[in-house]
Symmetry: C2
Subunit: 690 residues, 2 copies
């Protein structure tokens, strides 16, 4: 669809129509009219050429500022025409704009663009040259509430300039909120408007004015990024009582061998299907799905792509509810593969079969003893649901999880998402009683809006952690001062995650440690933290890390200090971090925990940082940490540092479902990443899953 | 010593004396003189009150700008006097400055302050309100070369404004270099000058002018932070053939028990000293050091503080070379403790005994089978020297190192550093043949200059990694626009580390993984990297992490691509990261390694990222990685991801001395942290220790 940029006069008209303040201005076609216009606007004025061929007016001498009297108006008129004609020969001059010259003020920008995954977003930042220099821009997905607008204004570093910098009076924040709100409303309601850039908006102590506007519209009525509603999947389809494996094989080099072998532990009915065999691992092999005597809930499809449509027809006939198609060779190879995938989906829709994949590793539901994948390793039962857009990541993480003693409630490889996708698996995890937190590995989301709607609901009940790859494609280097390009797609993902309450993480290990922490502790109610240790060095490092990751180490209230002083040795730190000194045994920690259990009102998170010492038995100490955690409604984070000497303590914590971090920094980083999304004071949502 | 701020006229005089350009100006005491001054300077001029009592001239109406003619000069003169008298009653007016009004330009700032640990530093950043907003300041310790000055100008984000922003002509960078150099020279040479803030310095396309200067001088000649030269310690004292333990005990609750038991594995002569016993662990106990029949090189002192002076006298008599005083109760408790420490040092100096500690855990030299500490755990032999200002950190790290299979060449607890300190231990590590990299845990350095001098020499030969705690005390919140406060002490440490080539790290685990990487691979020669993997998801994440940590994933040259295309399957990524596809076995990796061994000119670092797969045997794959590394002079980083399935591969890498990272992000982060200090192109220093 053809796009065009509105002329300056059109842009001003558009904004004025939205109730957004612009300078007084007139478009004139004669010098004498310019003079009349200037008189009625009032001096000083600015004059600018208006021509569709001239985008950078200043560069061609098409702008004159600081015009103070009628003679100068006429002179400027002539100069602008002459310069324009000389520099852009053949430009159509639609007239000259005479405009009120606005006094200087704080320049900010408000922009909007249409993201391919998430639709319309607005951005806000400092204006003029500051925007590129600072890269200090906040982003929100539309629609936005006034509260979110206030948040995006306050979030930028440059907010200090608005609030009143070094004794200057504050700027009119409400006028800015009004402009953003009105522009956001117009942007939602007007499907033609694709992108805009109000830069600068000049902010005063009272009021604000947009003095330059770039608006890009589509000439035809645009098709709003539709929320593609894919049918919901009934949860019971993920709990099968019978599974058939089509392509089950005795050849260890075949996927059908690995899948079938993994499923041997499935306690329900299991049927190998293969027309070329009679028996496999001592079980009767059926020549086709339809030949199976009983009902079949799931079929795992591990045959070449060209055979899949036929298999799906058979599944339809048999009344199969879910097909796990691990086979590759569909949309991901393009061309014929795409058409084949469409055909498979069409057959599935016709028969009411839902599809996992194709082109995926499969699905594991450890609590049901289901491993419907060709991963050679089966994970332990646990409380994390892992939904991944990469099969290799699953293989790697599952392998890593075994020595780490990390368990899963579900592991799902989404593949091409021809039918079921992230949204469905999130809903599965939401209602699954064994799942307490969710980890996503996302490369790209097709329909951001629908994803967001669902993940927001889910994250309200069960914490969601996401690793989003592809941050490096953001192409920062190429970014211009135009908001659109600064708000690169990765940033839109981050804004969407933040709004939906999803916690973004860079590293995989960090993601799973965080998921484990959230599974056991839920969201903290605020950012007020205490750190308890017996080692001065780690007390200092705790302060550093708290500062680094935005965690408030609160002051200890007087009554608490008094109680502690009554039994702690005189040299204890008497501050937070609480250094209980190197000779502290488990009993000293326990006595401090007792005080903190009695006084739960002043803190939200406790970090218990212990070191290997002959004076504190790790098992005893860990049991005291468990007791501490179970007697409070707060988040208690174990940091039993060390190696083999404290392994017995780690085991006690694990059994008591207390998270433990072996690197102190990771504990603070994890809590910080939660707080950055869910953080801070009374405004957090409820919902520790515990 | 009394400090005072120079008046504006004095400040201009000082700067002009250094050859630094300031605006033409006169200090006048009569309206008519002001008029004459303005005529000779040329209009427009600025006029400002000059009074020691009026610091914020604008606030009291003491400044008038844009004065265009003689009448306005006289009017301004009267207004300034009137305003000053009205707003600051009783202020002594030393006159009124008439000053050339400089045209607008780019405002930057140049500042200087005296850091308590490292002495004089200079800072550079954008000026005016931008300085506080951006917190975008570079810092260097004095003296600085022109090259370093150019570096500090180019390092700030705002450098784009100097280089020429969005098509604007560039500013006069040389004029800026000249100002910084001259100011740096004056700052070094003038002991009176304690702090200064040239803000703003206005930069033009040609030339620059300092238009506001705040200089703080000490009235008396200041004592330059002297480089306290502590005697060097001869290396041989760290390799004893006999050790006595004073306070050796049979009581497991005593430090003297733990120390003696740890030393039982020492292959040299070992003597327990305790007047109350005859026998300990089957060895003869001596009543005093002097009663030992043979020579004694080391004495470990584990008796109460008050007894230490007597012990030291006996050590002197015996000709002991080094005393490891683990006893606490010295300077760290203040008062009497400080005096006791001085006494001990005095005795040691008199007898030529060197001291480790007091108030320390002791020292471990695993290759000599020495564990002269009361740490219950003894580390493995390895190639990392760990020097720590916290004993608890040592206990924790050593305990953690055992299951991690990480070894040490030396572990030293510095304690109070009454005699030997960081500098001496660095020199020990430098010449110790078993040490290949060094890790420091630093809380505070007493004499930054002497530390820097030594660590710079050492880091040239053996990589030095440092965890510096105390970053949170930097008090950013309280920072004003004055350079001094922006250049908080932690930032000075970071600037000092950078100059000395020390690699700063936040987390302890990160520090040791990095030390291990450096011990085996040395410094990379540049930042050109390649990543080789068989998993698409990890290829994407590799790109992200490379981008995040400043590592260049280079383009593959055409001839290399051609060679690879000849044998790789058609769908391989044909780009860097090189995705060899999921069915890649060890042989496919090996064939790619062969190409990269033949073409070593286009890359400096290779990340080999593997995942658990039945198609690639981890032992075979790891052996190929070892071969790859040993056949190049480049840095090869193993990232064999996974758990138990790939442990055999991890073991092969460890035996082959190839670093392996179990979290992909950590590998890129580690290399990035090296490059941020040692990085980039041809400018790096030589010196892989391999």
């Amino acid at each position: 669809m053809p796009e065009r940029m509105l002329s300056e006069a059109e842009g001003y008209r558009y904004l004025a129509g939205c109730g957004i303040p612009v300078p007084s201005h007139r478009l004139v076609e004669r010098a004498s009219d310019a003079r009349t216009a200037a008189e009625s606007i009032g001096y000083p004025v600015v004059m600018k050429v208006s021509s569709p061929q001239i985008v950078h007016k200043s560069d061609v001498g098409g702008v004159v500022t600081g015009i103070e009297n009628p003679d100068d108006v006429e002179r400027a008129y002539e100069i602008i025409l002459k310069n324009s004609a000389a520099n852009v020969p053949g430009a159509e001059i639609s007239g000259i704009i005479v405009e009120q010259q606005m006094p200087p003020g704080l320049e900010v920008l408000v922009g909007g663009r249409t993201d391919p995954a998430f639709g319309k977003v607005i951005t806000f930042g400092l204006g003029g040259r500051l925007v590129e220099l600072l890269r200090d821009v906040s982003i929100r997905l539309l629609p936005v509430t006034d509260e979110e607008i206030a948040g995006m204004i306050r979030e930028i570093e440059g907010y200090r300039l608005i609030r009143g910098y070094r004794g200057e009076p504050p700027k009119d924040e409400q006028a800015l909120v009004d402009i953003i709100r009105r522009m956001a409303e117009a942007f939602i309601e007007d499907p033609r408007l694709k992108e805009f850039d109000l830069n600068p908006v000049i902010l005063y102590e009272s009021g604000a004015r947009v003095v330059d506007a770039r608006l890009i519209v589509e000439e035809m009525i645009g098709v709003e990024t539709a929320v593609q509603l894919r049918m919901e999947a009934p949860p019971e389809i993920f709990y099968p009582s019978s599974i058939a494996v089509v392509g089950a094989s005795a050849n260890p080099n075949k996927v059908g061998y690995s899948v079938f072998r993994n499923l041997l532990s499935f306690p329900g009915r299991l049927y190998p299907v293969n027309p070329t065999r009679r028996e496999l691992f001592g079980r009767e092999v059926y020549p086709s799905v339809t030949a199976i005597p009983d009902g079949v809930d799931w079929v795992v499809v591990a045959v070449p792509a060209r055979l899949v449509p036929g298999i799906m027809e058979a599944c339809g006939e048999k009344g199969v509810r879910l097909a796990v198609i691990v086979t590759a060779g569909f949309r991901e190879i393009g061309g014929e593969g795409g058409r084949l995938e469409e055909k498979v989906v069409e057959i599935a829709r016709r028969h009411g079969i839902r599809i996992i994949g194709p082109n995926c590793l499969g699905i594991m539901m450890p609590h049901q003893d289901i491993n419907a994948t060709f991963d050679p390793v089966t994970p332990k039962k646990g409380s994390i649901a892992f939904i991944s857009q990469s099969g290799a990541l699953i293989t790697t993480i599952v392998d890593w999880s075994l020595p780490e003693d990390l368990g899963f409630s579900a592991v799902i490889s989404v593949g091409n998402q021809a039918d079921l996708g992230f949204e469905h698996y999130l809903k599965l995890a939401e209602q699954d009683p064994d799942t307490r937190s969710i980890t996503l590995y996302i490369e790209e989301i097709k329909n951001g809006r629908s994803f967001m709607k669902i993940v927001e609901q889910v994250a309200e009940k069960k914490p969601v952690v996401a690793v989003k790859s592809g941050s490096s494609t953001k192409g920062r280097e190429a970014a211009s001062s135009h908001t659109g390009s600064l708000a690169g797609s990765y940033e839109v993902y981050m804004a969407a995650f933040k709004r939906a309450g999803v916690i973004p993480v860079h590293g995989l290990r960090d993601a799973f440690h965080l998921a484990e922490l959230l599974a056991s502790e839920g969201y903290p109610a605020g950012r007020r933290a205490i750190a308890i240790t017996s080692a001065g060095g780690f007390a200092v490092l705790s302060s550093d890390y708290a500062d680094m990751y935005g965690i408030d180490l609160v002051e200890l209230p007087d009554d608490v200090l008094e109680e502690l002083n009554a039994f702690l040795p005189p040299y204890w730190s008497r501050a937070n971090p609480m250094d209980l000194l190197g000779d502290a045994g488990a009993d000293r920690f326990a006595a401090v925990f007792d005080v903190l259990i009695r006084h739960q009102d002043f803190w939200d998170i406790a970090f218990v940082v212990t070191v290997p010492t002959t004076l504190a038995d790790p098992t005893h100490l860990a049991n005291e940490i468990v007791r501490f955690s179970h007697h409070t409604h707060k988040v208690v984070v174990g940091c039993m540092l060390g190696g083999d000497s404290v392994k017995s303590g780690h085991r006690v914590l694990r059994t008591g479902q207390i998270p433990n971090f072996e690197e102190l920094e990771d504990a603070f980083k994890a809590i910080g990443s939660i707080l950055s999304v869910r953080g801070g004071g009374g405004g957090v949502r409820p919902g520790s899953p515990r």
